[in-house]
């Protein structure tokens, strides 16, 4: 079963509450998404660690129900 965009967003925000999450349905098929996550909690972490936090929030769905989720993460830009 593919996941709905808002479910992905909800799961990420539950685990990373300060995250700003944007989701794009790349093909409009509810199966290929790109997610952009910006969170202060990413600061000082490597990209691998940031992505691991996102995958963690998705509780094992990545690589299963979610086979095509492109992830891009960053800490907010310094003001």
């Amino acid at each position: 079963m593919p996941m709905q965009a808002h479910d992905i967003e909800t799961m990420i925000k539950e685990d990373i509450p300060d995250a700003d999450v944007k989701i794009e349905d790349l093909r409009g098929d509810g199966d290929h998404y790109a997610v952009y996550v910006v969170s202060p909690s990413f600061k000082g972490k490597t990209r691998v660690q940031q992505h691991q936090m996102v995958y963690n929030a998705l509780q094992g769905r990545m690589g299963n129900e979610l086979h095509a989720l492109a992830v891009q993460t960053s800490a907010p830009k310094e003001q």
Binding site: R47, V48, H51, G60, G63, A70, V71, Q72
Partner: protein, 113 residues
């Protein structure tokens, strides 16, 4: 849980090869668009790498995910260190960070420009 034999195999492989790509298919014939994208980046930079086809070995296909704590394939290792999957490699290539990382780690690039 990481299977010990698989884990030992991976540890050895990423030690024996400067650059190792765990992928679906082979460098010449990738069988997944995400794997193909990383192969393309490495070829573009002229980096020699060891490709490992996880489709030939179900134990490895799951084992590499457990080993790296990373849920998807491809996975790129440079000098024993996990650098990232397809999204990260693409992003790092575009920003030039991948080239910097490879240079820092002393990996030869034939087309480093």
């Amino acid at each position: 849980m990481v299977d010990q034999a698989v884990s030992d195999r991976i540890s050895q492989e990423i030690k024996d090869n400067e650059v190792t790509l765990y992928m679906k298919g082979t460098p010449v014939f990738p069988q997944c668009g995400f794997s193909a994208a990383v192969v393309q980046v490495l070829n573009h930079l002229g980096v020699k790498f060891h490709g490992v086809n996880v489709l030939e070995d179900p134990g490895l296909r799951q084992g590499i995910k457990d080993f790296s704590n990373w849920p998807t394939i491809p996975q790129l290792y440079v000098k024993g260190e996990f650098v990232g999957g397809c999204d990260i490699i693409r992003e790092m290539f575009q920003t030039g960070e991948l080239q910097d990382t490879l240079k820092e780690k002393g990996v030869e690039m034939e087309n480093a420009a």
